[in-house]
């Protein structure tokens, strides 16, 4: 593993956790960096809703997001096992693994052969899971699992950031606000996709770019756009969707062209 990339990633992530940062944007960056850093094809993040369900809050690619949803709908898969047990769960070869037949089939269709899930823990509570998907079969090395766990821990901390961490209610307040932000962003993606005639993935890229260019929280921009109080301009060139994690790093300290 590239030591520089590792330290750069943690510096970037902790730098982003300044006052009033956007949790959904942050978790999106975290999944993208996880995929890059751990040399996997995609990463996704699930959080437990106190209503009694897991929710997909971020994914580095659309394929990973759909696969996470599939697990939730079919109620089987390594990420659910990881969440339920609070322990890392690995499947080095989904082609031969017998544990989750429906999940393995869906993963194969999405182009994934191996998966590693690490829990997000807070004290004695499991609050979610970070999931890493790889296109090739083979075991995940111990160091990668270690770093994956550290990234999952950063995701947990980010949820507790803004408020007093000693209050037991804080996590639930933050979590619900984050889940609602996720909904606002999806609504804005839909509206923008329809207005500009692009797909929702492209709409997300345009939204994030404008939020960063204007130094605005992604969910604030999304809300203002949905409410009709702020316009979003189409990019000058025709929009293209860079694969998250492969484009220019969208860190706040780096100006965008």
């Amino acid at each position: 593993m590239d030591g520089h990339l590792l330290s750069d990633t943690f510096v970037e992530l902790t730098d982003t956790m300044v006052a009033d940062f956007d949790i959904i944007d942050f978790l999106h960056v975290l999944t993208s960096r996880s995929a890059e850093l751990l040399d996997v094809s995609a990463a996704g993040l699930l959080l437990a809703d106190p209503r009694g369900e897991l929710r997909v809050v971020a994914a580095s690619t659309e394929a990973a997001r759909l696969l996470e949803l599939f697990q939730l709908q079919s109620d089987q898969g390594p990420c659910l096992d990881c969440f339920r047990s609070g322990q890392p769960v690995a499947a080095a070869d989904l082609g031969t693994d017998q544990r989750w037949p429906r999940f393995a089939a869906a993963a194969g269709q999405a182009g994934f052969r191996a998966v590693q899930a690490v829990p997000m823990r807070l004290r004695d509570q499991v609050i979610g899971a970070l999931n890493l998907f790889r296109a090739t079969a083979g075991p995940f090395d111990a160091e990668a699992v270690h770093v994956g766990q550290a990234l999952a821990d950063v995701a947990t901390i980010s949820l507790l950031h803004e408020r007093n961490m000693r209050r037991s209610d804080t996590l639930n307040e933050q979590l619900q606000a984050a889940l609602n932000s996720r909904v606002i962003i999806e609504q804005a993606k839909g509206k923008l996709a329809e207005r500009l005639g692009v797909d929702v993935g492209q709409a997300f890229t345009i939204l994030r770019t404008q939020a960063r260019n204007h130094n605005q929280r992604l969910s604030d921009l999304a809300r203002a756009f949905v409410d009709g109080t702020q316009a979003i301009t189409a990019p000058a060139s025709s929009p293209r969707t860079p694969r998250p994690g492969t484009g220019p790093r969208p860190g706040p300290s780096r100006p965008r062209p």
Partner: protein, 252 residues
């Protein structure tokens, strides 16, 4: 407990309350049923569609009425914060240092009125805002995780019932109940539903709230699942067109 089991149980309590008073199920029933449901002393429901000035739809006791009025008078409090923050605000001990610092006027006034804990739940689906649900207890103490989960589902139910009431005058599709006589669970909504709602604001030229109402009414009227309709809209296999009766100005 699975989300679905919880949803059915909460919906049952709300429907039971409506049956008890012999009326059609409304958001006011969700407000009344949440009190024994999560073991609080009282509750109130303030309706404020899309951030318009709110009105008090339901209070379960006099203290609840005072708590609602205090926040309006003082311009601060957990419910106002919940609306602005977009998530619940859980103040399990109003006499504590943090609520005192956060709401220097409201916290002592609420204690004098007889409340020791206040829990505020915004009635929101993303940018859709329908109002806020307030709960109070006359003794301090947090909602348990189980009670919190139930309270969130009571709030979800109240949102759906408020939006259905809004729709009743419109498409005539009736209350947006699922095939089993229950509202679709909010938490199980997939991103496609939210994206489709956003797309409909453009297709129909309506607010996000009206777009969601129209989406649900379409699914209900055509006996389709919300997720199916949403997927078709996002994939651009389906477009909805402005209803002449619902075009701007056409709605009473």
């Amino acid at each position: 407990m699975t989300g679905v089991g919880r949803l059915g149980r909460v919906w049952g309590l709300v429907a039971e309350h409506a049956a008890g008073r012999g009326g059609q199920v409304s958001a006011a029933d969700a407000c009344a049923a949440v009190v024994p449901g999560v073991q609080v002393t009282g509750a109130w429901l303030s309706v404020a569609p899309d951030g318009q000035a709110g009105h008090l739809m339901q209070v379960t006791d006099e203290v609840s009425r005072q708590l609602a009025e205090l926040q309006l008078t003082l311009g601060e409090g957990p419910l106002l914060d919940a609306s602005a923050f977009g998530g619940p605000v859980l103040a399990s001990d109003l006499a504590g240092a943090e609520p005192g610092a956060r709401w220097p006027a409201f916290a002592p006034a609420a204690c004098r009125a007889g409340a020791a804990a206040v829990f505020a739940f915004p009635l929101a689906v993303g940018a859709i805002r329908a109002g806020v649900l307030g709960l109070y207890r006359d003794r301090p103490g947090p909602l348990s995780d189980f009670q919190l989960g139930d309270a969130l589902v009571f709030a979800d139910t109240a949102i759906m019932l408020l939006l259905d009431a809004q729709d009743r005058a419109g498409a005539g599709a009736g209350p947006g109940e699922g095939p089993g006589g229950q509202p679709a669970g909010l938490a199980s909504y997939r991103a496609e539903v939210d994206q489709a709602t956003g797309m409909l604001t453009e297709q129909l030229g309506v607010s996000i709230t009206d777009a969601f109402v129209r989406l649900r009414a379409y699914a209900y009227a055509n006996d389709l699942q919300l997720a199916e309709v949403a997927r078709d809209i996002v994939a651009r296999r389906l477009r909805l067109f402005p209803d002449p009766d619902l075009s701007p100005g056409g709605r009473a």
